[in-house]
């Protein structure tokens, strides 16, 4: 029987990691909810953002928590352009084509990174990376705590944007009824691109929160995003609440199964859960659509 002293910190660390999973999943689910596509380029975009955060620190000594305010708008613009000028025009609205275009983008970006930066795994050594806070019953490193609270701030901001602003209303209108939105004069192509941009910005924020305690290589994002897919499916495609809860749940499951079964089998646990949910309840725990 494992003692309480090991279990509790594992749960805490799982929750902190789960927060970042939740953020990446939030971006996926937002894009799915509006565009109805699964963005296979998500992982490649995350790798790209990790590299950007890494080099900002490595070359210019800019802290990830500061560079995030530069990277988020930059990645928003990049995501906007990707959807507006590549994914949209190339796929002409056909589902299968969208699937393939995002896959093509993923292959392209990932291997461009591989070609330029090689397969080396890099880490940054920020002064605070290993400082930990004692909660009495568990130690948690500072970056994980920052990530935990930052994700709530981002989620709240996103919620505010979607529920209060005009652009948010337009996004929700397009998600609900694309043709109707178009008829009342909403520029659907623009809204699609805005949504994709927002999702990409979330990925950039996740990268900045992740880099102090994680590593970067051209495939770093890929592994991460398969987990994000699991969360999105678990929580229900397009459900924001589902993505948040699913993120924390998976973070804890991963942390605990890593503790019990070791690293690589812990990964299998997530995939099996993923396949199981897809087969048994593809609409997820919070999803309305089958």
């Amino acid at each position: 029987m494992l003692s309480f002293d090991i279990l509790v910190p594992a749960v805490f660390n799982g929750l902190a990691m789960g927060a970042i999973y939740a953020l990446v999943a939030l971006a996926l689910t937002l894009i799915y909810g509006v565009l109805h596509i699964i963005n296979f380029a998500h992982g490649a975009l995350l790798s790209m953002a990790l590299f950007a955060a890494f080099f900002a620190f490595h070359l210019f000594g800019i802290d990830p928590y500061i560079v995030v305010f530069l990277l988020a708008p930059l990645f928003y613009a990049f995501g906007y352009a990707l959807q507006r000028f590549i994914i949209g025009p190339v796929s002409r609205g056909d589902d299968r084509n969208m699937l393939l275009v995002t896959l093509g983008l993923a292959v392209f970006i990932e291997n461009a990174l591989l070609n330029v930066f090689r397969a080396d795994t890099r880490t940054i050594d920020a002064a605070y990376a290993f400082q930990s806070v004692d909660f009495g019953f568990a130690f948690v490193v500072v970056p994980r705590i920052v990530a935990f609270f930052a994700v709530f701030v981002v989620a709240a901001a996103l919620w505010l944007l979607l529920s209060v602003t005009d652009i948010g209303k337009a996004i929700r209108a397009v998600a609900k009824e694309k043709l109707g939105a178009e008829l009342v004069g909403i520029d659907v192509a623009h809204i699609y691109a805005v949504t994709f941009g927002l999702g990409t910005a979330c990925v950039a924020i996740a990268a900045c929160l992740l880099i102090p305690t994680y590593y970067v290589n051209p495939h770093a994002g890929e592994a991460f995003v398969l987990i994000a897919f699991t969360i999105v499916v678990l929580g229900g495609m397009g459900s924001v609440l589902g993505a948040l809860i699913g993120g924390f749940l998976i973070g804890v499951v991963e942390s605990l199964s890593g503790l019990f079964f070791g690293e690589s089998l812990g990964q299998i646990g997530i995939f099996l859960l993923f396949i199981f949910v897809l087969l048994v309840r593809p609409s997820g725990l919070f999803g309305a659509r089958a």
Binding site: N111, L114, I268
Partner: protein, 331 residues
């Protein structure tokens, strides 16, 4: 009959290549091209004719390769028998995954995701299970005898893979002309309508997936006979899932010769890119990603689809159009 004759001509021309080209490097390139074409032919049965886009055909390729290798190395099974059982193994994996996913009604992006996840699970299992050699992989013994399905001359290997491609061309042609093929296309075009007309979509998709998996598994079996090595990254890696879908989509999705044309174009492009800029990692894949996007943009039905459009346009310019009823009505 016309199509069968065309297959005969194409295969005969390709079969004559080793009589002219003796360079081992060139033959190796051609063998790998045909290998990828074969994997793509498998994908094309399910993805091209059935409209079910799998992102995880590595699951079948890897199973074929591992079954062939493990049976020979660990159980001393004859290579030819191992090859056949490898195909059967791949088909079984395809049937199981197909039964599970189609039973739950997964379509489109969901189907792509779940096939990807199955391939990943198999990759992780193969990288830790003792029987696959875990992280080290499985190395086969060099035994250059025809009964061991290994040949001293690359030309013979080339003819073997060409024969496999030729058989699949004929099989695909028969599927195209059969009732099963018509049902499969009906499911692709509109599954709900097909079901409403009495097509058993589940059964049709499952059969297509089993055939598709068997063909891609054959490519895996051949891979291990030729390179004598497989590990989890090769067998179940994403590279083969991508190449298996890339070749038919670039060549012409749902067309008989699509995968073959696609493989030749894609592999030539990749090799040219390497020749021009040196052997940098990931360079060929950068090209694949770009070509994939370009082809979907310019000609969604692939190169063969593009040619058909050009041909129609050309004929329309040559042959004066007869006025049709619909034309008359619309002025």
């Amino acid at each position: 009959m016309k199509t069968l004759a065309l297959i005969g001509v194409v295969v005969a021309v390709l079969a004559a290549v080793p009589l002219v080209i003796h360079s081992n490097v060139a033959l190796n390139f051609l063998i790998v091209t045909l290998l990828v074409a074969l994997a793509g032919q498998g994908w094309n049965v399910l993805g091209g004719y059935g409209g079910q886009y799998s992102f995880g055909h590595a699951a079948f390729f890897g199973t074929g390769a591992y079954v062939t290798a493990i049976l020979q190395v660990r159980y001393g099974v004859n290579a030819w028998v191992g090859f056949g059982l490898g195909i059967v193994g791949g088909a079984l994996v395809g049937a199981v995954i197909g039964a599970l996913t189609f039973r739950s009604g997964l379509r489109g992006s969901y189907f792509a995701l779940v096939t990807l996840a199955f391939a990943e699970v198999l990759r992780i299992v193969a990288s830790v299970a003792p029987i696959t050699g875990a992280g080290v992989g499985t190395l086969m013994k060099l035994d250059l005898r025809p009964q061991a399905l290994q040949f001293e001359s690359r030309a013979v290997f080339y003819w073997v893979i060409l024969a496999l491609v030729a058989v699949v061309l004929v099989v695909t042609h028969l599927i195209e002309r059969s009732r099963f093929g018509a049902w499969l296309v009906a499911v692709r075009e509109n599954e709900d309508a097909a079901v409403a007309l009495g097509v058993n979509a589940f059964k049709i998709k499952l059969q297509a997936m089993t055939v598709s998996a068997a063909i891609t598994a054959a490519a895996g079996c051949f891979y291990v006979q030729y390179f004598l090595f497989v590990d989890s990254g090769i067998g179940y890696g994403t590279w083969i899932s991508i190449e298996a879908l890339l070749t038919p989509i670039i060549g012409g999705v749902g067309t008989l010769f699509g995968p073959l044309v696609g493989a030749i174009v894609v592999k030539s492009l990749g090799e040219t890119a390497k020749l021009v800029t040196g052997d940098a990692p990931g360079l060929d894949l950068i090209f694949y990603g770009a070509v994939l996007i370009l082809v979907i943009w310019l000609t969604p039905r692939g190169l063969i689809g593009g040619l058909t459009v050009l041909k129609k346009w050309y004929l329309r310019r040559l042959v004066p159009r007869r006025p049709l009823v619909s034309d008359a009505r619309h002025g």
